[in-house]
């Protein structure tokens, strides 16, 4: 499974999906930490009318994922599913232009 880089606070240990300049809880320094790209699907939608900078992507599927590591991130679902149940297991399959891309585990 592909790994994802998130941030952890060296002072209080808080995790953050980033990017951030300092820990929002204690202003401590943040360092990156690799985590497994496994998680559950919180919700998803299909953007059928993309803004200018994403026009060349055509319609695409946005997913909110709760990583098992304990942070919530905004990414994409590979392929637009006919149906994806909320709470379904997903895994990171790669990144496209810095965007984490997930696929349903089934």
């Amino acid at each position: 499974m592909a790994a994802l880089s998130i941030l952890t606070c060296s002072a209080c240990g808080r995790l953050d999906a980033g990017p951030r300049d300092m820990c929002p809880a204690c202003a401590g320094a943040l360092t990156s930490m690799p985590v497994e790209g496994a998680g559950t699907l919180v919700s998803w939608t299909v953007i059928r009318r993309p803004p200018k900078s994403f026009r060349e992507h055509g319609a695409y599927c946005i997913a909110i994922v709760d990583l098992d590591a304990g942070v919530r991130i905004t990414g994409r679902l590979r392929n637009t599913p006919a149906h994806a149940a909320l709470g379904e297991r997903v895994s990171l399959v790669g990144c496209q232009d810095r965007i984490p891309v997930f696929a349903l585990d089934r």
Partner: protein
């Protein structure tokens, strides 16, 4: 803090204004508000202007100074405020504070936006300035997308869906039909809503507010000036502004906005009333699902029941919790920077008993303006002077 009155209101219709500049729209609304108040413009001690995207869409900034100059105001502080879709509400609150704290006796809040000349992709891109573009924006998420995500989660959690979203759309479009300022009133059948194009599943075109031009303005005055006012004033019982997470991942729940919850709690505490005492609400229905969520966040309807209330007609003008009798953003339109002040305009008309969709014997009205991904929120409670 001193008591503050809304002394005069003005608004352009919301919709397409072709060749009119954003400045001329703002001047039209502000001039009407000043004239109605009966107060000499020389007494205005500060101006706050709410606007979101005049820079990218019209190439015009310094709107606060331009509008003050056009109105012939004195050399007073003129400030443009920006809080995405809550810009107008924030301008109102700052004008309120200027008087409540005794900095001046009369202030004006103006909101304006000009959007309809731009193509949809440019408008979507400009609106995306309200997202944390280092965090969520990179994914290609849009505002319709954010509310599509919320609609799917809300629908699954509470077992509701198209029928309830459509009930909100039908009500607000119907209310808009009777509001002369509204851009897109309509009598819609569920089949027409269901046949409209998908925008961000499960949201369809009719679930989304239109792109609009427009301006609204209110003159605020210290309560001691009551005897000099020529229009029926209403009192600002509370004016609250809060912040929430700019990031999707920072919200505890996709079906709730913390900024709304905390603003509403503070507003009710300040006004000294219970949510059930509110006679009408003008809230931020940028999308149909937003009305359902906002009503719960504001504490007006129990969590998880808002969709059913919409379906049962309880949020109509004659219902037990009238929401958006103006038609809301869905029908009246959403000239972003003007919206929060347009909500005040509508609520003042209600409390004067002069609204085209009058709620019977309205004494308390609440307005709710939400910016970005819930990053900024204002909640105001207005009351009739005899309430």
């Amino acid at each position: 803090m001193r008591r503050v009155l809304v002394a005069g209101i003005g608004s352009t219709p919301f919709g397409r204004h072709g060749d009119a500049t954003i400045t001329s729209l703002a001047l039209h609304a502000a001039g009407a508000a000043i004239a109605e108040s009966g107060l000499d413009r020389a007494r205005i001690g500060s101006l706050y202007l709410g606007n979101f995207i005049a820079g990218p869409l019209t190439g015009q900034e310094v709107l606060a100074g331009l509008v003050a100059d056009g109105l012939g105001l004195a050399q007073i502080p003129c400030t443009k405020v920006e809080g995405a879709c809550a810009s107008g509400g924030i301008a109102f609150r700052h004008a309120y504070l200027a008087i409540a704290t005794g900095l001046c006796d009369v202030a004006i809040a103006v909101g304006a936006e000009k959007m309809s000349h731009a193509d949809t992709a440019s408008v979507t891109a400009a609106l995306n300035c309200a997202m944390d573009n280092a965090a969520d924006g990179v994914s290609g998420l849009t505002f319709p997308g954010l509310f599509g995500l919320a609609a799917r989660l809300y629908g699954e959690r509470y077992g509701v869906g198209r029928a309830e979203l459509s009930a909100v759309v039908r009500k607000n479009k119907g209310n808009g039909l009777r509001n002369p300022l509204a851009q897109m009133g309509a009598t819609l059948r569920d089949e027409e809503i269901e046949a409209s194009p998908q925008i961000c599943d499960p949201l369809r075109l009719y679930d989304c507010c239109p792109v609009s031009d427009g301006a609204a303005a209110v003159v605020l005055a210290a309560a001691d000036l009551h005897a000099e006012l020529t229009a029926q004033p209403v009192e600002v019982a509370a004016s609250v502004q809060t912040r929430g997470s700019p990031r999707i991942g920072g919200h505890r729940d996709l079906c709730s906005f913390d900024a709304t919850v905390s603003a509403a709690r503070q507003a009710f505490a300040t006004a000294g009333i219970e949510p059930r005492m509110v006679d009408l609400v003008e809230l931020h229905d940028c999308f149909s699902i937003a009305e359902i969520i906002d009503a719960e966040d504001l504490g007006l309807i129990p969590r998880g029941e808002s969709a059913a209330w919409a379906r049962e007609g309880r949020t109509g003008v004659g219902g037990d919790r009238p929401i958006n009798p103006s038609g809301g953003l869905l029908a009246k339109g959403h000239p972003v920077g003007a919206t929060g002040i347009g909500q005040i305009y509508e609520t003042v008309l209600q409390l004067r008993g002069a609204h085209p969709n009058q709620v019977r014997d309205a004494a308390f009205g609440l307005t709710h303006n939400l910016g970005g991904t819930g990053v900024a929120c204002t909640v105001n409670i207005l009351k009739r002077l005899d309430a």
